[in-house]
Symmetry: C2
Subunit: 234 residues, 2 copies
Amino acid sequence: MSGKVFGVALGPGDPELITVKALNCLKKSEKIYYPATQSSKGNQDSFSLVILKQLDVEEKKFIPINVPMSKDRSHAVKAYADLFLKVQKDVEEGKQVSVVSEGDISFFSTFSYLLEDFRKNSVDFEMIPGVPAFILGGSVGKLPLVTQNDKLLVAPDLENKPELKALLAQNQTVVLMKISKVREWIKEFIEESKLQFFYGEYLGTEKQFTCTDMDSLRDRQIPYFAILIFYGNK
Amino acid sequence: MSGKVFGVALGPGDPELITVKALNCLKKSEKIYYPATQSSKGNQDSFSLVILKQLDVEEKKFIPINVPMSKDRSHAVKAYADLFLKVQKDVEEGKQVSVVSEGDISFFSTFSYLLEDFRKNSVDFEMIPGVPAFILGGSVGKLPLVTQNDKLLVAPDLENKPELKALLAQNQTVVLMKISKVREWIKEFIEESKLQFFYGEYLGTEKQFTCTDMDSLRDRQIPYFAILIFYGNK
């Protein structure tokens, strides 16, 4: 069997929300690399590892990719470069290995940063998709994301209220990611706009918290793994 | 055990791209309703049934929901109303049943039309998400949909070239669905814009065809189950 690397999506958090294909691929892989963030004190945190540990896959295959927590992107770039070298070596040795990501594998995933190097160096690779967190949001909230001819926008970075207002005027559904960055003004915006919304933290995990009303959201600390879905101009 | 209806996502076409949770739910369900379109000559066509038949689930559970092919929405509305009554009866009898949809269950899915009736009549329901076709598109094309702070737009309905041009100016990635409706001008737009794109038909099925160059797309008849992903202003 020749070597190959698989980018494998783990899904949004619930271990049962991985696809059958992704789970089979992990079972067959000889090594499974997973992203882990590392604080300056050396503590490791990995959402991917929490999911992996709940799957029927041998733990001895798990290998962390340490990405230091830093605003300076060069640390992450170095971590991906190191990962590429490891994977390239595995594939040259004829191994089948996986690099995992929570959510989907082509949707804001670290795997994306490796593709160019794989292509340039003729490393054989394949991607196995998964359910992104915002798609789970539609099911958990029991509010369909889009119907008929609705436009849906996923926006991970927002400047201010006028920008969000403009996006909502053009699209029926707007999904906001990384909302911890806009926690200063987003609650005020919801109160003012009176729009229907769905808020979800750690979707699919034991820590899951969701709400669709402002009373439940008002005093909440918004963590990194949180999304907001606005149901706009209907 | 009390009755309940599950909206179950089948994923984009490949039977292995269903989630473990969705597959387990179908195995436990007593009946599985699936959408089928019916031509005026009485021929039935169902993308969902093609997927279902490849799963390890008893075929005798499968029940078609016939939605007549027609521009008049009232026929579809009647089909959903009939389905609601059937499901309500099942749940009152204490049965656990599923209503399936290809792709995701909250993303342009027929299940959405039932929710209001479920709520009004206190029918217990749950939704199990899946991988939408455009998410598979990112993996099959090996072109990441979004990275870093990219905005992604899903647009199922487009008027004309200026509208598409405006959307591409505002978003890094634009996914077009139902492109058979714009087949008159979309190929011309691609040639003129010279943007990077991914075209996919019947993704995840045996009939899958994909390309990222105009020479392969130029003479192609675009079917209903086709998407286009534009990689915009990068």
